[in-house]
Symmetry: C2
Subunit: 478 residues, 2 copies
């Protein structure tokens, strides 16, 4: 490459860089199709919203708080020491931010522990074993001390059990092997289509006389990291041990079953303790004009006991805290009362969400809207809104305030598990943050849900988008 | 958690799961605001587009091809053996897919190699050294065999050089330390604002008598992995060695400079070879009705010599191949001629793109539109369109065919470096795929641009979105 040639190329290259910079990748400055329902942009509101993004992206405060929650506190299943440490951490964080009020809301939660040394292996003919990647489902009873050893019967769905009947199932370990449907653009749909094998599997298997059940992990990935989650038993039926296999282990087991009968040994040392006292953690900025009108923004503080609950739902917790923090940092006094709520026990009981709604009913609180971030700390893509058509249109009218690389659409229908009880008891409208979710179910409820899988800019775009939404509701009412 | 209590919770939980599944996270089934300009959906077209997504997401063929390109071929800078292996790989892949025609288009390309043992360190007073993370910028001349040792002078921008003047710069190593502006939602804007320190830095530093120059890597991350890229020299000025430091190393150097004068030693063993013969690789599906009307979909086959060129631009190559592949696999005979083009030498010369355009002009080809994927293999978010207002509206009218978790907006302005010459020589409209780009400049032109940082579903959503776009253009004309 001689200098003269290079120079010619260079001019071209610089041109291209600016062509690229100016035309291809700066949608925030590009024209946007504005539907008829959308109102014109108020430049001052737009400037305030820009300041939320500027602040969140440059100080990365929520990302640094999430690191503390993941690394210093760690996993925090309801009833555990981790959960109590998380409550103390969250309360202190909110106090350090100087919110108008910070308080705990007591709630009794279930307390289950998996214990140590859970394992499963295929018993081979020569006395050797083939170990599987294995994780007890949350709430499962233990096996007897020596474990359970039984023949395995595989099904692709719960419906297949009826056709097989008691004669084929009694005394066996049922293996539910329904995979995620990769064709769904939203893997939440795939989760919804397979989740019954985890939540209902032990009940259904027991009803046909099975001695235990295992499931293929509810995972969008192709790795061997098993995913846990909640489950249930039914009174009058045996409570049988119930666990998840990593996807690769599930495929290995299925392959072995195609070759002939398979005996599985599994051992679980879980234990259920008495319900424990725990807390929702609540921080408040008092409204200056309409203090009785409450906007709740929340996430859930509890997580599963594997991983660090980084995306599920550490991200939502720091989002909620971050919204109030940005108001304070930028000196914006809200007209209405804004509450950041870190709910306890979303994962296996929802006691925190229920308590919060019961309290709202008892205190006759006026909740304007409740917003939840529980779709992971990925880049935002939209909001889902459960509200009147008029309210939905109102949110849609705010779309021009958002760079479409953050919030590009507003769906009808949305909210979050923790704020659903508020909708149930007093019809509070709910809004959920929708994220770029392709990686969510690779990590969800597994040892892979760790801080390292959260990207600072993606997380903080969520913080700023939620702050903008709360600000627009606070300014305009709802 | 006793069975009865659990059962009550469970009913609630199942309800929530379905509430979540049905309401919160399935935007494809939610209502979409349809601007007035958008045409109603044709159910058969929608079904065909759905089949593109179903196929791409379930067979993951492009992801598996990308693994081959990254792991079997690897880095492939123009003129290297890797680039020639990539040409052979791409040609064979296209032939294996049974496209109507597969051919190479010869092009002469620059051939630069970094050589081995490049390094830089701060010379400490006690004779010890503090090693920095260091990567020569592509095209840089070498240092003398023993390296260069000189005092460092830091600037935040090229503009500062004039104020300092020759008296402060002569004989020194200029250190350009302008960071990415994290506040930009699009980090392409941050790249555009800092890229001159890489492309122009050596020219500007040499013009004030500097003996070498180093830059803070053009990176959105906070790690210490240095990023390379293209640069230029100017005839009549000394060609001085030019290299990039990792972000942490740049910050360390800046910190040392705050404490006093710093001597840097740097060694580069790069070499420029004579221009090499290489090729664009082109695969064709012939149009059945309007074979003279050509739709080009492309990416660039060359990459930098560090990493594996996974996002930049292996993703674009398998996207282009994947579009034609999906047409063939689903038995769709295009009305117009569709070409998948893997361009050579986008990174340091653009010779492939220029050659393709010159050939189009010489052969009087009728290019309806040229599309490029060069924004990484992340989830798609939109398209950028450089075309007439009428054509732009046409593309916008197709938005309802896309789940907003894939393509949610159509920007005015867009394309790609390789297809820009086609626009220049014959005004061909250009379209670029816009992706969820927050991670792009963490990896771009660095050793971190590897296959492991590509997510199969995100990549394949791009394949299907591009196939849908090409299909809509093929069916409707442009
Ligand atoms: Zn959650
Ligand atoms: Zn590229």
């Amino acid at each position: 490459m001689n200098p003269i040639k290079t120079h010619a190329i260079f001019k071209y290259a610089v041109f291209l860089v600016f062509f690229t910079t100016n035309c291809i990748q700066k949608p925030q400055e590009a024209e946007q199709a504005v539907p008829a329902t959308q109102s014109p942009i108020d430049p001052q509101v737009a400037a305030t919203i820009k300041s939320f993004f500027d602040e969140a992206l440059s100080d990365r405060a929520c990302y640094l708080m999430l690191e503390e929650l993941c690394k210093d506190v760690g996993p925090r299943l309801s009833g555990s020491k981790g959960a109590e440490a998380a409550v103390a951490w969250a309360k202190k964080k909110m106090e350090d931010e100087g919110f108008d009020e910070v308080y705990l809301q007591e709630v009794m939660v279930p307390h289950w522990e998996r214990g140590k040394e859970e394992e499963a292996h295929i018993v081979l003919e020569d006395g050797k074993k083939e170990t599987l990647s294995f994780l007890t489902v949350g709430g499962s009873v233990p096996t007897p001390a020596g474990g359970i050893t039984a023949e395995v019967i595989e099904v692709q769905s719960i419906d297949e059990l009826a056709a097989l009947g008691q004669e084929n199932i009694r005394g066996k370990i049922v293996f539910f092997n329904q995979p995620f449907d990769q064709r769904n653009i939203s893997q939440m749909a795939s989760y919804g289509a397979t989740v019954r094998q985890r939540t209902q599997g032990a009940i259904e298997a027991a009803s046909y006389g099975a001695v235990a059940s295992v499931i293929r992990s509810l995972s969008s990935s192709f790795d061997d990291v098993p995913h846990t989650g909640t489950m249930s038993y039914k009174s009058g039926l045996d409570s049988i041990p119930h666990a998840a296999l990593g996807v690769k282990s599930a495929e290995l087991l299925s392959k072995r079953l195609k070759a002939g009968s398979v005996t599985l040994h599994m051992k679980i040392n879980s234990r259920i303790y008495p319900d424990a006292r725990s807390h929702n953690v609540i921080g408040v900025l008092k409204g200056s004009e309409f203090p009785q009108e409450i906007i709740t923004i929340g996430g859930h503080l509890d997580s599963w006991d594997v991983g660090e609950g980084a995306h599920d739902d550490g991200a939502g917790c720091v989002h909620a805290l971050g919204v109030l923090r940005l108001f304070k940092k930028l000196g914006i006094k809200p007209k209405r009362t804004i509450r950041a709520v870190m709910f306890m026990n979303e994962e296996n009981g929802l006691k925190g969400g229920i308590k919060y709604a019961e309290n709202a009913r008892d205190e006759k609180e006026n909740h304007l809207v409740a917003i939840e971030s529980d779709a992971g700390g990925f880049s935002p893509r939209g909001f889902g809104v459960t509200a009147s058509d008029e309210q939905l249109e109102k949110v849609r009218s705010w779309l021009p305030y958002f760079n479409p690389n953050t919030i590009a659409f507003i769906n009808k229908g949305g909210g979050g598990a923790d704020i659903r009880p508020l909708y149930d008891v007093q019809g509070t409208p709910t809004i959920g943050l929708l994220t770029e979710g392709q990686r969510m179910f690779d990590y969800h409820h597994s040892a892979n849900d760790v801080f390292e899988h959260v990207h600072p800019r993606e997380l903080e775009l969520g913080t700023a988008s939620l702050t903008a939404l709360v600000y627009l509701i606070d300014q305009n009412g709802f």
